[in-house]
Symmetry: C2
Subunit: 665 residues, 2 copies
Amino acid sequence: MPDVMGTLGRLVMGRPTGEFAPRAKPSPLRIRIALPLLAPDALSSVAYAPDEILLTLAAAGLIGVSFSAWVGLAIAAVMAVVIASYRQTIKEYPEGGGDYAVAKENLGPLAGGLVGGAAMVDSLLTVAVSVSCGAQYLAAIIPPVEDHTKAVAIALVALITLASLRGLRALDNTVVVAVYAFIGALGLTALVGGIEILTGTLGPSPADGLEVIPGPAFERGLTGLAGAFLVLRAFSSGAVALAGVQTISTGVRRFRDPKPRNASRSLAILGVACAGLLIGTLLLADLTGAIFVANPAQELRYTSGAPVPTDFHQDPVWAQIAQTVFAGAPPVYVLVTALVGFLLILAASSAFRWVPALMSMLAQDEFLPKQFYRRSDRRVAAHGIVTLGAGSAALIAVMGPSVTRLIQLYIVGVFLSFTISQLGMLRHWNAKLPLAKTTAERRRMAGARAVNALGLVLTAVALVIVVITKFTHGAWISLGLVAGAFWMMVSVRRHYRRVDGELKLPKGGDRTDLGLPSRVHGIVLVSAMNRATARALAYARATRPSSLEALTVAVDMARVWELRRAWDRANVPVTLRVLDSPSREITRPLIDYVTTLRRRAPRDMVVLYIPEKVVRHWWERWLHNRSAARLTSRLRHVRGVVVATVPWQLDPSDAAAANPRETGQ
Amino acid sequence: MPDVMGTLGRLVMGRPTGEFAPRAKPSPLRIRIALPLLAPDALSSVAYAPDEILLTLAAAGLIGVSFSAWVGLAIAAVMAVVIASYRQTIKEYPEGGGDYAVAKENLGPLAGGLVGGAAMVDSLLTVAVSVSCGAQYLAAIIPPVEDHTKAVAIALVALITLASLRGLRALDNTVVVAVYAFIGALGLTALVGGIEILTGTLGPSPADGLEVIPGPAFERGLTGLAGAFLVLRAFSSGAVALAGVQTISTGVRRFRDPKPRNASRSLAILGVACAGLLIGTLLLADLTGAIFVANPAQELRYTSGAPVPTDFHQDPVWAQIAQTVFAGAPPVYVLVTALVGFLLILAASSAFRWVPALMSMLAQDEFLPKQFYRRSDRRVAAHGIVTLGAGSAALIAVMGPSVTRLIQLYIVGVFLSFTISQLGMLRHWNAKLPLAKTTAERRRMAGARAVNALGLVLTAVALVIVVITKFTHGAWISLGLVAGAFWMMVSVRRHYRRVDGELKLPKGGDRTDLGLPSRVHGIVLVSAMNRATARALAYARATRPSSLEALTVAVDMARVWELRRAWDRANVPVTLRVLDSPSREITRPLIDYVTTLRRRAPRDMVVLYIPEKVVRHWWERWLHNRSAARLTSRLRHVRGVVVATVPWQLDPSDAAAANPRETGQ
């Protein structure tokens, strides 16, 4: 089977890029390269957060929407505290383990496992959300995409998965350029939009002539409990803007020395950029008259009172802003919208970068199968990458390419990780504070602890708000997924622990396992007298076992006689024993024979030499060694038996040259 | 992987019945049991042949349909000759190889391969046709089935496949009873129908008030070239009635002694039954006024001239006959129709009986992978059974559950086998005739040869008619499938031939392969110091290699240091060599090391001892031995290297008892 995988792999994955080459180690990067490389995750979440805030508040009509800037400010405040907290994490964990390392080291492996499980689920959702949103921006500039956003989103996931299998490092330059272009494009839009607003030359908004119909509960605006709950829901939707800020804390190693300082500085820059982007977007959306609702057909009407058509198309917020600002220059509008969409798709690809690293950390702590530790091994990485691609494609297929529905799932995991990580940092400082030597040091630590404590309070409150306001909207799905991932990881770890315990060498006296078997009984498995058999016999004899015999199973008596004659002709100095098999079975008589041998002399060891034909093409495997494979798999369970396969390499080209007549039919 | 299959297998297949038990050998049977056991194939094809004759002739309207008895007589005549021919085959090949043995022994292995390929394709079509027709009979008594015949047919195939995986011998009694019940039911219908016709008390036919619209080419009846061609098409469709008569020639061994005589007598009885059934059905259909057309909506109209509704439902011929005859006793009608349907479904299951036998014969001649030879091995048989089930389900899915369309494909393979088999018998007699000692013997042989020659001419003519009249109707598909199967089988045989040639021991002088390697260098692969490693070390030392070393790959330096300390503590009398691996890879450094060793001393042999953890559950395999599996698969291609796996059986229950604390998290 591995070779089938290999062949398929070569077909699908093509030639590997540098990423999976042996001894590849990334060189440290300047801030101006490293920051944009790690930024798409955080920036992309800020690109779709405003849509979600506006959409939630739209339930309360125009009065609700006017409240959006305040929600944005609250989110920016939480973001500032979270970023300050992560700057502490970077300084204390410059190795870059991120939330996982913080949780594991301060709260124990189970907390680490929980963060790991949440991160695995969030990786699926990052991809699903970013790609779905990217597909919406594509639809804004390529109208035919609109009717097939689901198919387009799944196709994009497939494309990113294939690219990841080849190695994403080739995309590094693209990512850096795309991030600067994204920032530049949005900055330009804000600048031009500002000038147009001041000079009163703003173009018509695509939402001109539309108005939001307030929901039945909000006909008198944001009042009472329902109003407060709506604001909280808007907050918890918009809080998705915080997703991705932790990426820098896991990538500290990519920065130049002094790594922690550079990473910390980068995080501050990123925080300012994100907060500015969030507030800026909400203000611009308000000033340009952008409107974004969940169900246009139900929640919008023309100011004339007429309902909007059921197939009404609504672009995402940045597409609406760009359309208004660049009403006179459609190519610029297309360019800006395309850049936002492209950044979103790149953000999806960044999950494919950090998932193998995460799996490697989890595997090192035995939460995942050990082979995932070696993430530079392309075949190992491929398992994680394909699982991520398939999982997120499945999420899109099931939940539709609806950004709003996917975000309900996404946000829970994000804040779960934040909260556990902040709790870990608090315990970290509590443990470290008594060890402080100078007053200055103690004061610095106490300050840092205060930052993390504030972070903990804010993220915990946000988590509670998220779970309460989103539970029926899908948060239960992601809590279930996280619990499932956690259970699987804990089971794997428990299995490894049990095996380790079982395999532990006894201390002191009882060293039976190290004792040598008294005798070695060699058996060569024979089905015909040929070169492969001859080699197996020669090798078995070379190991000088205490006794050696050849064994064949009599499935077809004619062949047994033929074998006997050939055996005598070849003058083999080994006895040939024939096992009877009335049922034509091969495995059972052999197993029975070996078991009997073992029972008679339990201190002896049996070595079974099996000649194996090594074929050139994977499909030829189906034609050879099937009985041997089955026998080997069954014999594993018989104690004291070693199976030695003696390969004979078949070489069709050589054979064809040597015996041209025999190769034809 | 085999264990995953095993677990799935146990889930799906349940406990095996006697068929796959070791040493199971069927006891010989009396004619009255053996004949019905082997008859469903032949009887079922006679059950749907009349429908096809009527359907084809319906293109020429009522005049065409009235011609059906003549077509039936022509088919019965061919059947008589074919049955006489197969009686010769049974006498000459009492071992029961059937068409395959006849073709192989008289016309060479390639002809055998062609017959084998045709038989494999026909097995798919037997199942597809019988089940589709069975579903039609079900629809005649359970109306809701009508709208889902395709789904019902596929479900029936799945059911038969599952039953076959458990072993079909449990159904033997059912088959015998069903065949007698089928014959009895049809005989009763004919008897009651005859009395009703004579007494003028026949009930109303479901086709009363309907008439067939003649096709545009046949408005003046069966005249000219088009008429002749239509009659030929009807003949070639109805010739499907012959399918299955050869089954008895492959099952001679199931009869009591004297086997050939009993089998031959059974074949004669079967022939009379089939011919009588065919003619009887066509006569009864004519007398009861049954009408059967391909497209009721286009080809039928009410005698009033009004068109029939587009969703007009048309029952198969025997359902129509039974409905007319038992118009006053609906339960009898339901019973008769159900028995016909049940026999059709049993006929499908009979293909599942003979396919493993056919594959075993083909495998013995190296046309198929060798493992298929052991057909009593349930896992091996399962591959053939599942392939047959999936293939015929796919055929039904693609071609619809349309009996008519499937028969176009089926009939080609049937007559291809007949013709090759008759040609083989002719050559058989030509070769044997000169060896006849007495005149009586020579006369007997000449007579037999004449029968086979007549059989050859008739089946060859029928084959030509079939290919010509059916080519565009689907015969090209089955010719393509047969060609594909033939090509695959010839490729497999060529591969085995080539390998045999390559492995042949050189005659005389050059005996290098039998020469012993000069030295044995043992290597124990180590990743941690534990009991599995200790056992591998002990076993490696017990084989007393010329030199022995332990080898580990440094993926993680901390673990290497830990291993070194444990190594020293355990006082292992073997040197531990550490291979550097900056890229964290395991396989490559090891392969490089072994290759270097081999290059330095090409006459030496390297034995690599790999400790293997044997797990209890299939999913646990994913957690262990992955690197070892990959290494083993790569090392196969390095000459002079033997891989010996030293298993350590993990036993979770034992471990839990020994170290209760260590098993928990």
